[in-house]
């Protein structure tokens, strides 16, 4: 019964995937070398609306919650929560490394997952990072990128924030394939899933309190800044250090004024 449900929903997502991939493919071909190349954003008007709603939710609810979390829960405990949540994603990182054909990456991710699960008390301690093997997330959006799928139009998702068509799809696939979700779902422990999601959100937001405050304060157009940062960061994450795209820095004819 559960299985039938799952396979049906997988099938449905596969169909969505094919359509979206087609869209993404079409949307990214031209004009990437132009000096002023901006992020493709045909949905800017609805995106700005969702962005504004997210901002409001953040200022009224999420940011205060994160502040309380930082204020009340001591550092080591928050670190343990962070480690635990990250470790739960280990299997996904392994799978995505394999799908990308990155066997060294898969090996490292496997080593991290085993080490932290066994020596790190089920993932509460990030022993691997302390041993010099840092975390290196690989999600399915990155996998699609490695396979040559372009980002497609920029999309701001409710609550989740900046994304694009490719990464939204990737997020969906990661969510479906997530062993923790499958496990808790099979065990009828959906609350554990929601708990994990809430904790992950709180963890992520609490690490960026100062940063997002600064961005809000110093940006002329926070929406555009977020869009640019997201696009560049994803490109770097997909390239894994291989030949980052660098724009041209011409010597201007007339010397720039002092």
């Amino acid at each position: 019964m559960k299985l039938a449900n799952l396979s049906r929903s997988l099938l449905r997502s596969a169909a969505v995937a094919v359509v979206a991939l087609g869209m993404a493919g079409c949307a990214t071909a031209p004009g990437s070398n132009e000096a002023d190349a901006t992020v493709s954003d045909p949905l800017e008007i609805p995106n700005r609306f969702v962005f504004a709603v997210n901002e409001t939710a953040d200022i009224l609810l999420i940011r205060p919650a994160a502040e309380v979390y930082v204020g009340v829960v001591p550092d080591p405990m928050r670190q343990a929560v962070h480690n635990f949540i990250q470790n739960l994603l280990g299997p996904l990182y392994i799978a995505n490394n394999l799908l990308q054909g990155n066997f060294e990456g898969a090996q490292i991710a496997t080593g991290r997952f085993m080490t932290n699960t066994i020596l790190g008390l089920g993932g509460l301690a990030d022993v691997a990072t302390e041993a010099g093997i840092g975390d290196r997330p690989e999600d399915f959006g990155q996998t699609l990128g490695v396979w040559g799928v372009g980002p497609g139009p920029y999309v701001v998702l409710p609550f989740l924030g900046p994304s694009n068509v490719r990464d939204t799809l990737g997020y969906g696939v990661d969510t479906l394939a997530d062993p923790f979700r499958i496990g808790t779902n099979a065990a009828g422990a959906d609350n554990a899933m929601y708990g994990r999601t809430a904790a992950a959100g709180l963890d992520r937001r609490s690490q960026l309190l100062r940063e997002i405050d600064d961005l809000r304060k110093n940006s002329l157009d926070f929406y555009a800044t977020a869009r640019s940062l997201y696009a560049q960061q994803r490109r770097a994450a997909i390239a894994n250090d291989i030949a980052p795209a660098t724009p041209e820095f011409p010597d201007f004819d007339e010397p720039a004024k002092k």
Partner: protein, 206 residues
Amino acid sequence: MLMTRRLFLVCAALLAVSSWAGRPAAAQSADPGATAFIQSLGNEAVATFSNKSLSREQAVQRFRTLLYQGFDVAYIGRWVLGRYWNSATPQQHDEYQKLFERLIVNTYADRFVEYSGETFRISGSRVEGEADTMVSTQIVRPNGPPVNVDWRVRKRDTAYKIIDVVVEGVSMGVTQRQEFASVIGQNGGRVEGLLQALRQKVGSAG
């Protein structure tokens, strides 16, 4: 180089993920002078801002001095404006450059002033573009994982200047450029719209 902390934070802000890895030093003939320049500028920044006896005003002044010593602010300002530079009048250029400098100081000075023990080490360098050198550094923070920051250095005559900063693969120049382009776009392609937004943000250029 404390500034990098803020820069990193800027990027980190929107990331669900970050791809971390030490970048291997290219074996190419990158200009060793550029590396030495970054090393000494970084040392000076650390020395300056770890001195907590400075008043805030003094520290901001020092920041400004270091900014001009290390960065080609005018070049960056012009580069960031991109193709809109050509559609602006000379008066607009002047005002824009003043406002741009102020924006940089407002945005980054506090990060230096509130220096809290970051250190850095050079992790490599490579040739970038036609004649620039990308000097890679790793910023080690007291709290949190280290951050990879690349400094794009151009040599003019005998002086080295930074023309872009790339934090974990994210270019500060590109980010600013795309933001400014968006502001101008929202204002019907008029540079005046950007100047207005800048004035509002940093006060009018005196």
